[in-house]
Each structure stands twice: as structure tokens, then as C-alpha cells.
């Protein structure tokens, strides 16, 4: 099978999904109304609530939801063959992610732009809010640990990415100064920033950095993990304009450049997919496709994290309610495109099946490394860049995505810790909260070995939690639709499937983690199982009362 065919079929499915299904959703199910006053106009404050052009808003939304996760997930999941991953990404994006993201955006926009956390308190009950906090806490903690390992593997696997990955921090810091202190033109700043980043990539490609056996008494992997946590800790407490904001911006620009490079390369080189459609010969220890595929690829098929972005910021900036279709649904399609690119890179960027099987010698082995190597080969073939430079570009891109997610997650988790402290009537200062987060994150990472060797065991668990969050959001959307007497099936069917798969996966992993004697993750998994039962219980209760037509108070806020 040629990857170009795969690409065209994938694009056709996404296009059809956007043109047909999102039209159906926005006209019949959510009944988006251009005349309805959006929170951005109703509560306009020039800070949170700002009517924003839909293309700009889509840009934010897309770059906030897309990161390293839609690269890592498919990179691991193609171990079962390319077809299952391809189908789950395309069908998932059209019927699950698009529906879910658009639904979260609509639900929030119809409730004064309130977040999913607040909405779960409102539609699921007060316990729903606590449940939400627990799920978010676990999700962020696992993101931090998993991405620390992802970045470490990249820095060691592609030593040429060391200079650009760390140099990008300096680039971002200078960009921040250029914007706020020297008040330079943004366009000029962007050009300078991107040029500097790519010069660093060239420099790194020339001078790869491999750490010696022992750095400050630590192995390379241990050293990188400690360094990453130190960086994330410092970055999370600095004022955002110094580092996080310019970093996010450069990354957003980089996301479009990277997607462009990847797709252009596939178009010009049209490599053959060497991986089997179904891998009948998976390495020992690979868990079953059902249910693990559905949690290994979370971002790129359906991800609860999108609901947080939809309801946290995007819903407060909708200029017209009908823009939600483009912003929410097409945002999911954008992430689907990234996941599709990752699938092609990890299956078509190798010369022979044997070479591919060597990379995928154990579950969790491929991942982002396969994306970098395979993608590098495709970029070499398609755009004529040297293989090592191509790999450096992709590795840097992946490191930057993962690192920005990591520092943002540390920052957010600090707020969660402080909020938890408030509930317990303890005043937790900024530095103490950050220290707690770093210790927990480091502990979780090092529980997987001094070099985080088993760190990718966290990945499916992270996906499970993410799907649980998606289930919670879909339940809220379903309850709202039921209360309005609309067709709730487009929400209920994905809800049933995603929840079943997440719960099933959580149970399967209990066994796997027990066999691996990983008691910490086993404990986390137990918490996830309990949270899953809780979600189901609360959701069924609120849906029953919604079906009975008990409360129509949703309309109160709706009409205001």
C-alpha cells in the first residue's frame, strides 16, 4: 500500500466528516444559532471574553490541543499494524473527537463560557466537581511523567536535537524581551525567532551532544530527567511573559511548519507502507488490541483534554455561535491530521518489514522514536534534506511540543495543589506547591527505573484517564441534549464506546501492572477504576432524571 493512498483516503474521510457530519451536528443536534449572543459579547471584558475572528480562534484552539500526544500515541499503536490505528484515528476524529470538542464548546458557550469542571458540578452534581478535580490531578501528573521520559528518549536517541531543544529556551526568552521590553514588531520577531530556531537545528545537527556515562554521578537518562524537572519547575514559576508565552507562540508557528514539511514530504516521495495492515506477529508482552488501542491513541481520536481547552478559553471568545463548528470540529480535524502524519511516518519511513519489526520489538518501543526515524527518512526522500537533519527537525519539534506541555502541566498542577490545600484549609505557597508537584512527578518517573525505562507503561494509563475525562464531558453534553429534548444518540454512542473501552482497559492494565509488580501504577490504576465507576454512576443518575424531564433549569442560564 502506498502512503499517498492512505493520505488521500484519510483526508477524504476528514473532509467528508467536516462537510457532512459537522453540518448535521451543528444544524440538527446542537442547533447553533448565529443570532444567539455568545458569552464573548454578553460578558465582553477585554480580558477573558473577547470576540475573536474564527480563523485566529481556530489557530489557538488547534495549537493548544495538538502537541506531542497525537505523535506518541499513534507511534506506539501502529505495533498492531497500520489499519487499526488508521481506522481509529479517522473514524475517531469524525464521530468522536469532532463531536466531543464541538459539544464541549457548545455546552460551555451556552453556559456563559463556564468550564467543564463547573459544568460537571452543575449537570452531574456537586460530587461531579470533586471527581473532576481527581481526574485532572491524575491526568496532569501522568502527562508530566510520561513526557519527561519521551523527551529524555528523544535527547538520547537523537543527540543532534540537544542543542536546539535547550537553545529554544533562550530563543523564547529573547522573543519575550523583544515583544514586551523592546516593543518590536511581532512579524519581524517571528521571522527572527524561527530563523534562530532553525539555525540552532543546523548547529545541533553539526554538533550532536552525547552525555558521558556519568554526568554529576548520574546516568545520561537520569541526568536529563532531573534537568527537565528543574527546567519545568523554574519555567512554571517565572512570569508567563518571560518564557511560557513566547514558547507557546513559537511552538504554534512551528506546528504549522512541521505539519507542512511532513505532508509535503509524503506528497513528493510517496513512500510505501512497509508495516503490515494487521500485525499478526506482535512481540511478546504486547497487550490485546481491544481495548488498548483505544486508550493508546487518545489525542488524535478523542481526548478529554480538548474539552478543557474548549470550555476553558475558546468558548469565551466565540464571535458567533456558528463559528463553533469551524473552531471545535475543525480543531479536532487538525489534530487528526497530525496523528495521520505520525501513523504514516511510523509505518512508511522504513525500507523493509524486518527493519520496521526491529524498531517495534516490544510494546512501547516504537513511539516517538519511530516517528522521528521514519519521518526523517520520508523528509529526506521527499524534500531532499539529509536524513540526519530531517530527523533533527522532527525530534526538535517533538521535544518542543512535549516540553511546553510539561511546563504548562507543572504550572496547572500547582494550581490544583493550591486549590486542594484550600479545601483542607492549608495555605500552600507558590514555591511549596511547585516543590510538591516536582517531587510527585519525579517520584512517579523514577518509580519506572532510575532512567525512567518503564516510563511508557504510564502512557496507556494516561490515555485511560483522558478517555474518562472525555466520558465525563460527553455525559454533560448528553444530559444537556436530553433536557432540551434533542437527539442525544450522537453523544450517547461515542460515550458508551469510549467509556467501555476505557474501563475495560483500566481492568486489563490492573492485571498487567500486577504481573509487572509495579505497585505505584497499580495503585493509580485502582483510583482510575474507582473514578470510572463513579463517573458511570453519576452520569446514569443525571441522565435518568434528565430523561424524566425533571429539571429544565438549563434554560435559565441559556436564555440569559
Amino acid at each position: 500500500m502506498n502512503s499517498l493512498v492512505l493520505l488521500v483516503i484519510g483526508l477524504a474521510i476528514f473532509t467528508a466528516g467536516y462537510l457532512v457530519y459537522s453540518k448535521y451536528l451543528s444544524e440538527r443536534v446542537y442547533q447553533l444559532d448565529a443570532a444567539h449572543t455568545t458569552p464573548a459579547h454578553e460578558l465582553s471584558d477585554g480580558v477573558d471574553y473577547v470576540p475573536t475572528n474564527k480563523f485566529v480562534l481556530w489557530g489557538h484552539h488547534f495549537t493548544s490541543v495538538a502537541g506531542a500526544a497525537p505523535i506518541v500515541g499513534p507511534g506506539i499503536a501502529v505495533i498492531w499494524g497500520w489499519l487499526p490505528a488508521f481506522l481509529w484515528v479517522t473514524v475517531g476524529t469524525v464521530f468522536f473527537a469532532g463531536m466531543h470538542d464541538l459539544g464541549a464548546l457548545w455546552a460551555s458557550a451556552r453556559n456563559r463560557g463556564q468550564s467543564i469542571g463547573t459544568l460537571s458540578g452543575r449537570y452531574i452534581g456537586p460530587r461531579g466537581r470533586n471527581l473532576f478535580l481527581v481526574v485532572i490531578f491524575l491526568l496532569l501528573l501522568m502527562v508530566i511523567a510520561a513526557f519527561a521520559v519521551v523527551i529524555t528518549d528523544l535527547l538520547i536517541g537523537t543527540p543532534s536535537s540537544v542543542i536546539p531543544a535547550w537553545g529554544a529556551i533562550a530563543v523564547a526568552a529573547v522573543v519575550g524581551q523583544m515583544i514586551y521590553r523592546w516593543r518590536m514588531n511581532l512579524l519581524l520577531t517571528t521571522v527572527i525567532g524561527v530563523t534562530a530556531l532553525y539555525s540552532l537545528i543546523l548547529l545541533g545537527d553539526r554538533y550532536p551532544i552525547e552525555l558521558p556515562e556519568s554526568t554529576l554521578g548520574m546516568s545520561p537518562a537520569t541526568f536529563w530527567i532531573v534537568a527537565l524537572f528543574l527546567y519545568a519547575g523554574i519555567a512554571s514559576v517565572l512570569p508567563v511573559w518571560v518564557l511560557l508565552q513566547p514558547r507557546d507562540y513559537i511552538n504554534g508557528v512551528q506546528l504549522f511548519i512541521g505539519l507542512g514539511i511532513l505532508y509535503a514530504a509524503v506528497l513528493f516521495s510517496a513512500p510505501t507502507v512497509v508495516a503490515p495492515a494487521f500485525n499478526g506477529n506482535v512481540p511478546d508482552g504486547t497487550p490485546g488490541l481491544v481495548p488498548l488501542l483505544f486508550v493508546t491513541i487518545a489525542c488524535g481520536a478523542i481526548s478529554g483534554f480538548h474539552g478543557m481547552v474548549s470550555s476553558g478559553t475558546s468558548s469565551k471568545q466565540l464571535d458567533k455561535e456558528t463559528d463553533a463548528r469551524f473552531v471545535g470540529y475543525f480543531g479536532a480535524v487538525g489534530e487528526g491530521l497530525l496523528a495521520l502524519g505520525a501513523i504514516i511516518a511510523a509505518t512508511a519511513g522504513f525500507r523493509t518489514v524486518a527493519e520496521w519489526e526491529e524498531v517495534y520489538s516490544a510494546f512501547g518501543n516504537g513511539g516517538v522514536g519511530a516517528f522521528v526515524d521514519g519521518g526523517g527518512a520520508i523528509v529526506e526522500g521527499g524534500l531532499g534534506l539529509p536524513a540526519s537533519l530531517s530527523a533533527t527537525i522532527l525530534a526538535t519539534m517533538a521535544v518542543l511540543f512535549a516540553a511546553t506541555t510539561m511546563d504548562t502541566a507543572v504550572r496547572l498542577l500547582r494550581f490544583v495543589v493550591q486549590e486542594g490545600g484550600e479545601l483542607l484549609k492549608v495555605n500552600v505557597s507558590k514555591s511549596v506547591a511547585t516543590a510538591i508537584v516536582l517531587i510527585l512527578g519525579l517520584g512517579l518517573t523514577f518509580s519506572q527505573g532510575a532512567g525512567g525505562e518503564g516510563g511508557m507503561r504510564i502512557w496507556p494509563l494516561f490515555g485511560t484517564t483522558n478517555q474518562l475525562l472525555a466520558s465525563l464531558t460527553l455525559s454533560i453534553v448528553a444530559v444537556m441534549l436530553m433536557r432540551k429534548g434533542r437527539n442525544a444518540w450522537p453523544a450517547l454512542v461515542p460515550l458508551a464506546l469510549v467509556f467501555t473501552m476505557a474501563f475495560y482497559a483500566a481492568i486489563v492494565q490492573l492485571g498487567n501492572l500486577y504481573d509487572a509488580q509495579d505497585w505505584l501504577l497499580l495503585g493509580l490504576d485502582l483510583v482510575i477504576v474507582v473514578a470510572a465507576v463513579w463517573v458511570a454512576f453519576e452520569a446514569v443518575l443525571s441522565m435518568r432524571s434528565a430523561r424524566a424531564g425533571e429539571s429544565e433549569d438549563a434554560e435559565l442560564v441559556d436564555r440569559s
Binding site: 480580558v47 477573558d48 473577547v50 470576540p51 475573536t52 475572528n53 480563523f55 485566529v56 489557530g59 489557538h60 493548544s64 515583544i179 511581532l186 512579524l187 517571528t190 512570569p239 508567563v240 511573559w241 511560557l244 508565552q245 507557546d248 507562540y249 504554534g252 478559553t313 471568545q317 464571535d319
Partner: protein, 101 residues
């Protein structure tokens, strides 16, 4: 600000690329600033609250050698005074001579 602010124009075709370009530049700036607008606004408010505390120090009973000079700033901080003491968790005005509520 959103690109729609450039508005529809009835000018000739020549202006179209110009309009597109400035819309793009506006969009780019929004792309940079919007995600962190809230965080920065909050940080600014914290700074302002701190400034308010310094200006009112003497009135609140904290010895302030510069009180004579900061007195001049009082009119400038009055408009925000009510919101400020509410943020501090004080329902009523903490100063007898300021009856804002």
C-alpha cells in the same frame, strides 16, 4: 484585535491585498497575546493592589515616612478602592474617612 475590525471597505481592488495583510498581522498579534491575556491582567491587578497598600499605608496605621508624598496619590487610587477592599475580603470600607459602601 480581531481582523473583522478592518471592516468591509468599498475601496478598489488594489486595497484588497493590503487589507488581507493587515488582517493577517492583526490575527498574528492576537495569536500571540490572547492565550495569556488573563494571566497578565491578573498579575497587573496584583501589582496595583500592592501599590494601593503602599499609598494607603499611613491611613491604615503603618508608619510611612513618605506619607506626605503618597497623600497626593490618594485621588488616583480612590476609584479602585471599593473593589480593592472587597478583594481583600473586607465587606466594609476599612477607612473611616472613605465611605464607599
Amino acid at each position: 484585535m480581531p481582523s473583522s475590525s478592518t471592516g468591509p471597505d468599498g475601496r478598489g481592488r488594489r486595497d484588497e491585498p493590503c487589507r488581507r495583510w493587515s488582517a493577517f498581522v492583526d490575527g498574528l498579534s492576537e495569536f500571540y497575546h490572547a492565550p495569556y491575556r488573563r494571566t497578565l491582567a491578573r498579575a497587573k491587578r496584583d501589582e496595583d493592589d500592592h501599590f494601593m497598600m503602599v499609598v494607603l499605608a499611613d491611613a491604615l496605621g503603618v508608619p510611612d515616612p513618605a506619607a506626605y508624598h503618597s497623600l497626593e496619590l490618594l485621588p488616583a487610587v480612590y476609584p479602585e478602592f471599593h473593589a480593592w477592599h472587597r478583594r481583600l475580603g473586607l465587606d466594609r470600607s476599612p477607612l473611616e474617612h472613605v465611605g464607599c459602601c
